[in-house]
Symmetry: C2
Subunit: 242 residues, 2 copies
């Protein structure tokens, strides 16, 4: 179980400020996000989230929450936007949720801020799905990878947060060459093209795509192994060491 | 005097969360930021900043603070980053500042959060310097436009915030065509080139620059007035209506 929800008190945490993580993973031509189904009557889903300790850097808090939820280290993580509308208030839902989860209950003062409006700092992460071991918190029933085109019933502005994360991912994709976080170590040009087509939700022409990638000068082409069948196998590439 | 510092209490504001504005203005080939010299012994400068009312959208708070400080409406404003290191703590300075400014003093409970670490949401604004009427707050001695290459002694991570704002401005500059916020309504190609050279801190070749701008298809060229001298005057351009 995740550590993220231990001791929710204003002595420990900055009040009314949270972190929401959009954890992207790519598999078989689908871009997925890792989301918890909440341990609450009805079909409610959230984003992996948490709070910031009084003596903790915000970026460090995001890293902690993410590592906690995935059991992975050194994840690619990018702060992308703050969500702070005055109506980000979940008082009714949060009150019920607290009532159902005795382990979250404390003195009224300790939890007063918990039912107020939250300003939330969005981070997106890029992970290799195969390496993630999803961890639940006391308020989760389970965690699931879901296709970003088939999102479940997300609380509050969850869908807006995911949409904005995708927008930021696209804007960063070429500049920061972050694609390697979503692929195995070696891959074919066709697999790389499929990843781009999935992220940008549009087709690329094969020749143009190959030229664009080679012009970026970020790929190393591996030598083919000399075997009888290898001649017909496509070249494998990997990202250059930076 | 600005309204931004009235009634600083956790009843009114979200604790430990602030907004910092980087207000960019362009004049005579120089990119400037509008910064307050603080009303405090020594040479301390800040950024125009403020807090978020409990029932106010974060974006709205940024707009309010900015309008309050510039007496301008409809300013181009963009959220760009959150600054949340654990050492963003100004307790000593803030305590002295409160002691020097009786109008800021209240009960200890009301101001306790004021000397803790602040997480600050950065917004940058692009304004026409000639239209701004800088307003001070009770903690400011005066406001000044300063060249971003000759910044004064900024408190805390002020320089980092400005550097990050400039980075975000550059990243957005072509995509969002925000340059028009920094220029008069009509301008010559040479003036536009000078703006780009100032923002990106590098020279452009005249022919390449003109071609790049015309290819973007964002400019309207105005017809020259037919006068004897006009033939030698350069063409004037303006940005297309969107």
């Amino acid at each position: 179980m995740s550590e993220s929800y231990k001791g929710i008190s204003t002595q420990n945490y900055i009040a009314q400020l949270s972190i929401d993580c959009v954890i992207f993973g790519y598999q078989n031509g689908t871009l997925n996000v890792l989301v918890p189904k909440l341990n609450f009557q009805g079909d409610f889903w959230g984003l992996p989230s948490g709070f910031i300790y009084q003596h903790e850097d915000v970026d460090q808090a995001a890293k902690r929450i993410l590592e906690d939820r995935t059991q992975m280290k050194d994840i690619y993580l990018e702060q992308f936007h703050v969500f702070g509308n005055a109506n980000r208030n979940n008082a009714e839902f949060m009150s019920s949720l607290l009532a159902q989860n005795p382990q979250l209950q404390g003195s009224k003062e300790e939890y007063d801020w918990f039912v107020r409006r939250f300003v939330s700092i969005g981070y997106y992460a890029l992970v290799d799905i195969k390496k993630v071991k999803p961890q639940t918190t006391p308020i989760d029933e389970r965690m699931e990878w879901v296709d970003i085109n088939q999102l479940p019933n997300l609380l509050l502005d969850g869908k807006e947060i995911i949409a904005k994360a995708l927008q930021a991912l696209r804007a960063n994709f070429d500049d920061h060459l972050v694609g390697y976080n979503l692929l195995p170590e070696t891959f074919t040009m066709k697999e790389l093209q499929k990843l781009y087509e999935t992220i940008f939700d549009k087709p690329f022409r094969r020749n143009n795509f190959q030229k664009m990638m080679l012009d970026l000068n970020i790929l190393d082409r591996l030598e083919k192994q000399f075997t009888g069948a290898a001649n017909k196998a496509p070249y494998l590439y990997k990202f250059k060491e930076i």
